[in-house]
């Protein structure tokens, strides 16, 4: 799914200033993009604009070259899934099965096919044994995986993760990060991951950094994550390893080039 922002301006009614003005960018079909920014920088606002929960004050948003409008939004929204920050906000059903089914019912998928889809994607996110359990009883990471299964079952072309790990413990965070990586590798989906954790941007094809309503950095993780000064000025913090790499660059020591190379490799595999 290709997403295009053209000169988008957006302001909340209650606020004095727009969140951004004349924001433009294009996200190509089938890519994984990380949007980084501190709390309040406008990341969720972008996500909500993409899924049509908010409407720009000016400018256009195009999805596969079709402009998002009142007429087109319903069809387009069916092709997108979003996983929110708080795992408790995702649920409506009595059982995990109901929850995965919920979206499918909305899409009027025939019953037989629905049962198959649910099994298939519950297995994929490793939640098959929980289908008849109540979602309330699950851990945060498990809840998020069920939400992912729901989006996958609808075969959406785009999945947006809006800080989906920030309320999870390290185990849950790992589960979801692995899930994102596997989605990227095994499915031809477009993924947008919204986060303030640099660790979670490292596997993306592209990283965009948002600050004060502007995209201040845009490129591959290898390039963007080295920009210590801009990242810090944008309220972000370098991962410990990257910070060390930065400091080491100015020093002279034995085996410098092999150590630097090995560190990069280790950081990217973390």
């Amino acid at each position: 799914m290709k997403i295009e922002f053209k000169d988008v301006t957006f302001q909340y009614y209650s606020e004095e200033k727009p969140v951004f003005e004349h924001l433009s960018f294009t996200i190509e079909q089938g890519t994984t993009t990380a949007i980084l920014g501190h709390n309040g920088s406008g990341k969720s606002t972008i996500a909500k604009l993409i899924v049509g929960l908010l409407v720009p004050n000016a400018g256009q948003i195009l999805i596969d070259d079709v402009e998002l409008t009142e007429q087109t939004i319903d069809e387009i929204r069916k092709r997108m899934g979003i996983i929110f920050q708080n795992p408790d906000n995702q649920f409506v059903g009595v059982t995990v099965r109901d929850d995965i089914a919920f979206g499918l019912e909305n899409h009027q998928v025939p019953r037989e096919e629905m049962i198959q889809q649910i099994e298939k994607y519950a297995t994929l996110v490793d939640m098959k044994d929980y289908l008849d359990k109540s979602p309330e009883k699950l851990s945060g990471g498990q809840k998020q995986r069920v939400a992912i299964a729901g989006a996958l079952a609808m075969e959406t072309e785009l999945i947006i993760f809006d800080e989906s790990t920030s309320m999870l413990d390290p185990k849950g965070t790992k589960e979801i990060n692995q899930m994102m990586r596997s989605l990227k590798e095994n499915f031809q989906k477009s993924i947008i991951t919204i986060t303030h954790q640099l660790e979670e941007a490292i596997f993306a094809d592209r990283v965009m950094v948002l600050n004060e309503g502007k995209i201040v950095l845009d490129g591959t993780p290898q390039v963007v994550l080295k920009e210590k000064d801009i990242l810090e000025a944008s309220g972000l913090k370098l991962i410990d390893g990257l910070d060390v790499l930065n400091r080491l660059e100015k020093d002279d020591f034995d085996h410098k080039s092999s150590i630097m190379e090995a560190l990069w490799e280790l950081i990217f595999k973390m």
Binding site: H38, N39, P170, G235, L236, K237, G241, D251, I259, A262
Partner: protein, 285 residues
């Protein structure tokens, strides 16, 4: 002694076969300590700290708080205990309800019988301590950023001026800058006021950078009470307790495996990693 647990047992359900606290024993001084409690989700950390201010009562063993026995009895008075030990819950900002920041922070001291003037002074002091600028005091707490709201909630507990402050996962959900700022403030408060601070965390980089003493919970048992360095050096324990290494330690180990780094002590923080690398592992003390 500030907090003293001897063979403490606890079960949420009387009939349950597993205990959520199982023979837990330790003590924490009434001042000058900075203790971090680790352990995977469900290991009993929150249950344990709720015993530290009488919110939960042990089913077996003995809990003493400032030399008072905390047992189920009509005579047990919880207010004096909570003057000694303040507990800040997880996501405390969900419990903010007053119309201004100042009023919200004043709620605690007023509840403990302070006059309006006294409560206001205590609240202002607490806000200053936790880094809430005075121009925010008359604002609605609900329009603040997540990090600011978290601080308002913590100020509410500080305003009671407890000797010991306990925080249950205070950095979760904050952005990295917010985390660092909050940790620096806690260290600062600890040094200025000599209060004992106890916090629960899952963030091993925070543990590596800030902890002095660490308690580890596993399946309701206290399985470790000691220094950070010793904890992270013992890999089989870490596996057993489902704990990760700090980022810098992971990188150091990776470099060592590739034969690119050697060290006597595992580097835990980024400055230790940096030093180990530039010195080629020699002489890192």
């Amino acid at each position: 002694m500030g907090i003293d647990f001897q063979n403490v047992d606890f079960k949420y359900a009387k009939k349950a076969t597993t205990k959520q606290l199982d023979q837990v024993s330790f003590s924490i001084q009434e001042k000058d300590e900075f203790v971090m409690i680790l352990g995977q989700t469900g290991s009993g950390k929150s249950t344990m700290v709720q015993h530290m201010n009488g919110l939960l009562l042990a089913s077996g063993g003995q809990v003493r708080i400032f030399d008072q026995n905390i047992i189920r009895s009509k005579k047990l008075k919880l207010k004096p205990i909570r003057r000694h030990v303040g507990l800040v819950f997880q996501f405390p900002e969900y419990q903010i309800f007053e119309s201004t920041v100042l009023k919200d922070v004043m709620f605690g001291p007023k509840n403990f019988g302070k006059t309006k003037e006294e409560a206001e002074q205590l609240a202002k002091d607490a806000c200053q301590l936790i880094g809430i600028p005075s121009d925010l005091l008359e604002r609605s707490p609900f329009n603040l950023s997540g990090g600011q709201m978290r601080r308002v909630a913590i100020a509410g507990s500080l305003a009671i001026d407890p000797d010991i402050l306990i925080l249950d996962e205070p950095t979760v959900g904050l952005d990295p800058k917010g985390k660092d700022e909050l940790m620096d403030l806690l260290v600062d408060i600890q040094q200025k006021t000599h209060k004992t601070i106890i916090m629960i965390t899952h963030d091993m980089d925070i543990v590596a950078n800030y902890a002095k003493r660490v308690l580890v919970m596993n399946h309701g048992k206290l399985v470790y009470d000691g220094t950070v360095q010793e904890l992270f050096e013992n890999e089989s324990h870490l596996k057993q307790y489902n704990l990760d290494l700090p980022t810098s330690a992971l990188l150091a180990k990776g470099l060592k495996e590739k034969g690119l780094l050697d060290y006597q002590r595992l580097p835990l923080t980024k400055s230790q990693l940096y030093t180990a690398i530039v010195r080629g592992g020699e002489d890192n003390e």
